[in-house]
């Protein structure tokens, strides 16, 4: 384990940014999002969740993957070059790291998404949460606010310094290149990590027991809760677009005369045209089916298919839903139990 003085962070970022594009949480007009570092960047490490999850970097909202030209009756296709993968994500919270592992299940399984695969070669430096928010519930899914096992490097906030632990070979290599900036922590400091992890876990007041939720959720298709939830749903895409695990996309063309390009972009199961078919038929005709789909997918279908929940408890949808549709209420309905610490 090593540590870096907070005062030296700008130096670190400058160094890292020279090696590869470096993304970290930055503030613009009061909104904190991952953005490429540059001189004078307004970095905001201390805030918990960014508005958009780092999903927007590994799986951008839209990307072109094919160019085409069409002359008379001749069509020529040129695939876009694979995106650059050697960038660094700095300051990713453990829930968001877990979100990326959920995306991995989708995009890295056969057939592998080569664009995602390429972007996924990035290095993830995670920052543990010391004090999760009241709307956070990562622990419900067996995650730990103070630790992200899937990260390459793990950081803990020790007030004046960040404790630094590489978790993977990739992380180790990077750590080795930083000997000038990193220091060896005192044993007391090293030990404080354990304490931080424990405190963070206890701050989350609600202790969730999710035993049997996946199984019960399966039977919730006709549950009355959907009737009360969907009626107030506005049908906007905030919950899905801000979700670190939602991964649905649409494919579209943009053309200018005979040349054009094909792109893919995020889509949302909350939109009424999400399942609209060319015939005009819509298998999810009302918002009820759409709201149900979203929760069932996270709590039942995805676990059934991939063995893990499609929710990481980051709380973004809970905080940003304009009408407070709250997934924790659904989890409770599915038998999730809460005991207050």
């Amino acid at each position: 384990m090593q540590e870096i003085q907070k005062a030296r962070l700008p130096q670190l970022w400058e160094y890292l940014a020279k090696k590869a594009p470096l993304y970290l949480p930055q503030q613009e007009d009061g909104v904190i999002n991952f953005a490429p570092w540059q001189e004078g960047a307004r970095v905001k490490l201390e805030s918990l969740n960014t508005v958009l999850p780092p999903k927007s970097i590994v799986f951008p909202q839209w990307e072109t993957y094919l160019h085409f030209t069409q002359k008379a009756r001749e069509l020529k296709l040129t695939p876009t070059k694979e995106p650059e993968g050697s960038y660094i994500l700095f300051g990713v919270r453990p829930c968001d790291v877990a979100g990326i592992t959920v995306l991995d299940r989708v995009f890295l399984q056969d057939p592998v998404d080569v664009f995602y695969e390429s972007r996924r070669r990035c290095t993830i430096i995670s920052l543990a949460c010391n004090e999760p928010d009241i709307s956070c519930f990562c622990s419900a899914f067996g995650l730990e606010p103070g630790f992200a096992p899937a990260a390459d490097i793990m950081l803990w906030d020790g007030d004046k310094f960040l404790l630094w632990q590489s978790l993977t070979e990739k992380g180790e290599t990077l750590t080795h290149s930083l000997t000038d900036l990193l220091e060896v922590p005192t044993p007391a400091e090293t030990e404080s990590v354990q304490c931080l992890r424990e405190t963070a876990a206890t701050v989350q007041e609600q202790k969730w027991g999710l035993d049997g939720v996946k199984e019960r959720a399966k039977d919730m298709f006709n549950a009355p809760i959907w009737d009360s939830l969907y009626r107030r749903c506005l049908g906007c895409g905030i919950c899905t677009y801000l979700c670190p695990t939602c991964h649905c996309f649409d494919i579209g063309d943009f053309s200018r005369g005979e040349r054009g390009e094909r792109f893919r972009c995020w889509d949302s199961c909350m939109y009424k045209d999400f399942t609209l078919m060319a015939s005009g038929e819509n298998p999810r005709p009302t918002q009820k089916e759409r709201v149900r789909q979203r929760f069932m997918h996270k709590l039942s279908y995805f676990p059934a298919q991939h063995g893990l929940y499609g929710c990481v408890g980051c709380g973004r949808c809970v905080r940003k839903c304009p009408v407070n549709i709250d997934i924790t209420q659904v989890i409770k309905e599915a038998g999730g139990s809460i005991s207050c610490a």
Binding site: E28, D29, G30, V31, N33, V51, L52, Q61, W62, E131, D133, I134, S135, S228, R231, R232, L234, G235, C236, G237, I238, Y241, L242, D250, G252, F254, F263, C265, W266, D267, S268, Y271, K272, D273, V318, K320, P322, V323, N324, I325, D326, T328, Q329
Partner: protein, 323 residues
């Protein structure tokens, strides 16, 4: 507020049990301090779910669009801004006045959770209460008091119609109307040069993720099919390329011209904090300047300024400004 909440519950139970209405739309308290969300009550026994607190911000009027079809009559609670939205729906012939039984709830301002968070008062917060002009933040083991306006939504601070302009039954006393200047941000932008303004808006529009929350929450956006969702013709591409985002925001705002009731809901729900209010208010300000003052949503019988004309209108496009 508690008093009004009691009245709400009593009135809701009364109109349901008397059979005057078969649905009451109100707000219900959630698990967390800032959660007060729309609730649909069809049984008088459930009237106890109703709440009235500093977070009852969602406008209930738009739910009428769907609910009205299967109901005899719907009772609902309106703050001042909600009533304007309702009138706009009336003007667009989307709701039938007869089908709504309106309880007016004068409102002197609601609390913006983001402001609470920014002030660092959110950790461990249980609830927020108001007495006069003072807020009390209640925690497990302590309390904190502050002046209320600090934490009100910006839109509440500039609110010009806190007392509903349309209702059947008034709950509580009308509150004083004391709005702050609402065009400050617009004027500030107008004072900048065109490139500075472009950079400002470019930054805002680039953040847009096209979640359409601003549209879906808006009481003036009530089209059955939105132009932005159409595939033939495809007006708006799905990629969030900057020019497409610009098209979205310019067109959205322009569809609001002469129709925006300035309720500020679009800006409230925007997850990336695009200052949509400034776009809407620029149009309101120009309409006021060019065609005389017009407040959408006050009188649904008035002809909105952009579907009428006066032969003596100014030709404002002849104004030329330095680049």
């Amino acid at each position: 507020m508690k008093e009004i909440m009691q009245k709400m519950r009593a009135e809701a139970a009364r109109v349901l049990s008397s059979g005057e209405v078969d649905l009451v739309l109100g707000w219900e308290k959630g698990d967390l301090w800032w959660q007060s969300y729309p609730v649909f009550i069809e049984n008088e026994k459930k009237a106890e779910l109703l709440t009235w607190d500093l977070f009852c911000v969602p406008n209930l009027a738009k739910y009428l669009l769907e609910e009205i079809w299967h109901k005899k009559r719907v009772a609902l609670f309106f703050k001042g801004c909600d009533a304007l939205g309702f009138n706009q729906l009336m003007q667009d012939k989307r709701v039938d006045r007869e089908k709504a039984f309106i309880f007016a709830v004068p409102c002197s301002g609601l609390v913006d959770p983001q402001k609470v968070e920014r002030a660092g008062l959110h950790q461990g917060l249980l609830r927020v209460e108001r007495l006069g002009d003072e807020l009390t933040f209640v925690y497990k083991d302590r309390e904190k008091k502050t002046a209320a306006p600090w934490f009100y939504y910006d839109k509440c601070l500039t609110c010009r119609y806190p007392n509903p302009v349309v209702f059947d039954f008034m709950l509580g006393e009308p509150v004083p109307v004391n709005p702050r200047e609402r065009f400050t941000a617009v004027k500030e932008l107008e004072g900048q040069n065109v490139d500075a303004r472009f950079q400002y808006w470019q930054r805002q529009f680039s953040r847009c993720i096209r979640c359409f929350a601003c549209r879906n929450v808006c009481p003036a956006c009530s089209c059955r099919e939105c132009i932005f969702d159409l595939t033939s013709p495809r007006w708006l591409g799905k990629a969030t390329e900057l020019s497409e985002n610009q098209f979205y925001h310019i067109t959205r705002a322009f569809h609001m011209a002469g129709r925006c009731v300035d309720c500020g809901e679009c800006a409230r729900v925007c997850p990336v904090q695009i200052p949509l209010t400034s776009l809407n208010r620029k149009l309101i300000k120009d309409i006021d300047e060019l065609y005389g003052p017009y407040d959408a949503g006050v009188d649904p019988q008035k002809v909105p300024p952009l579907v009428t004309f006066n032969p003596g209108d100014p030709a404002a496009f002849l104004e030329s400004k330095g680049v």
